[in-house]
Symmetry: C2
Subunit: 281 residues, 2 copies
């Protein structure tokens, strides 16, 4: 039976570290402050926002909410991002996405100053991920994947890593993070032929296809570590990309959904805020 | 016996296209103009510069040489790049590298305006390669690899591509170009374990390890297309990363060294200049 790589202990360790660093900053007269910018009132945006506020409250980070109606003009929205980027009391800016159509999210990303860009929307931070420059802020989810492997002591160097996702929020940046850790990296996607042959040869398999219970026994093998980044909603509730019960009986370790990577991603956001305070000094 | 993927026909086709486009621009009153910037008098820099000037002459592109002594100050060198970036008569800027130590090549790259950046030194162009944004200018060598496969009609979509190189001038950007062409891409490097097992499973193998005749029969298999990007100098002369005679007898197609990718890379630089003229309008 596989080791279950739960997200909570990883997230708790990150949060404990963040809380301590935030407390020290507060004592030194710098209250870590996250601005959360939202346009409209989509239910999942509000749910995410509330979760972020609660998480921040647990670790000595204060939040300020800037909320616009869904039909806010591009000019007013981007002016707000400009002001927040210049505001010395704000250390990080989280923009809830997707943005309404009238707002150019590419331009919005460029207006978030790189050292306040906790969710990696600024192209300068993305560029640093690709060039292996550790001075930037990585996207949260890829960083969470590396974090969970390190936390549970699974070596990465020299391992064959297969990532099934080629998006800019997961597969592409994650392939660069794994290369920086000396892994051999294969990126697969919807056009990949003989996918199960490739995935079953992996030492570490990362899936982000967004199809509920897509990967079964033919895609995995013993001694494999599986990180399931899929978040899918079905009638039975939330699940990952893996046929969890079937895969768990074969592989050596697997992260569950829910309770896996998603939990860590939110904690990484908090750490980015603390790093932003340090970068802003 | 393998098909030999010679670079010359590919380069000739690119040059013919470039010459025609340059002639039209000239007729319309815009003489395509490349600035070549050199610091010092290293022999290989001068040889490369002369090759570029000769190539440009063949395709209706004019060149202007800006040459500094090896001990030129950072300020004077970067001021020249600023002026060239603003000069409306200059369409592309080629800086010979490596630069002397006193010049920060990262800063130099940022000073070359993105639309004149024929050799992809500006981070904005590199970012576009990584995000799959086709509006930028790619590094020449990765583009040459894609070009040779398309010229000889080797399909890329859905194929397993293995690249042995993770540098910023070859492996990383090339992996992104292959992903954009719907290939499944594996990036290997010096820390990769069981390299021959991985390479021998490829449909397309791209090598850039810079070790003369490193890859022999155990690294390849029939039906494979091999693109050798290695340029190595030995007592016997110039050679690639492949044991050419040994590998040629096994695989389905192979690019030679010399006479392969290198030839195409120089032609790609000319095409970038023409694209820069178009981008600058």
């Amino acid at each position: 039976m596989a080791e279950i790589l739960k997200g909570k202990p990883v997230a708790d360790a990150i949060k404990a570290d963040v809380a301590l660093r935030a407390e020290r900053m507060k004592a030194a007269g710098r209250q870590p402050m996250l601005a959360i910018v939202r346009a409209g009132s989509r239910e999942d945006d509000i749910a995410y926002e509330n979760r972020v506020i609660r998480n921040c409250g647990e670790v000595n980070i204060e939040t300020v909410n800037i909320t616009f109606p869904a039909d806010v003009s591009h000019g007013i929205f981007t002016d707000a991002l400009r002001s927040l980027s210049e505001d010395k009391g704000i250390h990080g800016i989280l923009v809830l996405r997707p943005l309404p159509d009238q707002i150019d999210s590419g331009e919005a990303g460029m207006l978030i100053r790189a050292n306040k860009d906790v969710d990696c929307m600024n192209p300068e931070n993305l560029r640093k991920v690709f060039t292996g420059d550790a001075s930037g802020i990585s996207p949260c989810t890829p960083e969470a994947v590396i974090e969970i492997l390190k936390f549970y002591g699974y070596p990465i160097r020299g391992k064959n890593v297969v990532i099934v996702n080629r998006s800019l929020v997961l597969g592409r940046p994650l392939s660069m993070l794994f290369l920086a850790e000396d892994a051999t990296v294969t990126v697969c996607h919807s056009r990949t032929e003989k996918l199960s042959e490739i995935t079953s040869g992996a030492d570490i398999l990362v899936s982000g296809v967004g199809r509920p219970e897509y990967f079964g026994r033919e895609f995995v093998s013993p001694d494999m570590t599986v990180i399931d980044v899929g978040i899918n909603f079905t009638e039975k509730g939330m699940c990952g990309d893996m046929k969890y019960d079937e895969v768990r009986d074969i592989v050596s370790a697997i992260s569950p959904v829910p309770g896996g990577i998603g939990t860590i991603t939110s904690a990484i956001l908090l750490r980015h805020l603390i790093e932003s305070v340090e970068l802003g000094i």
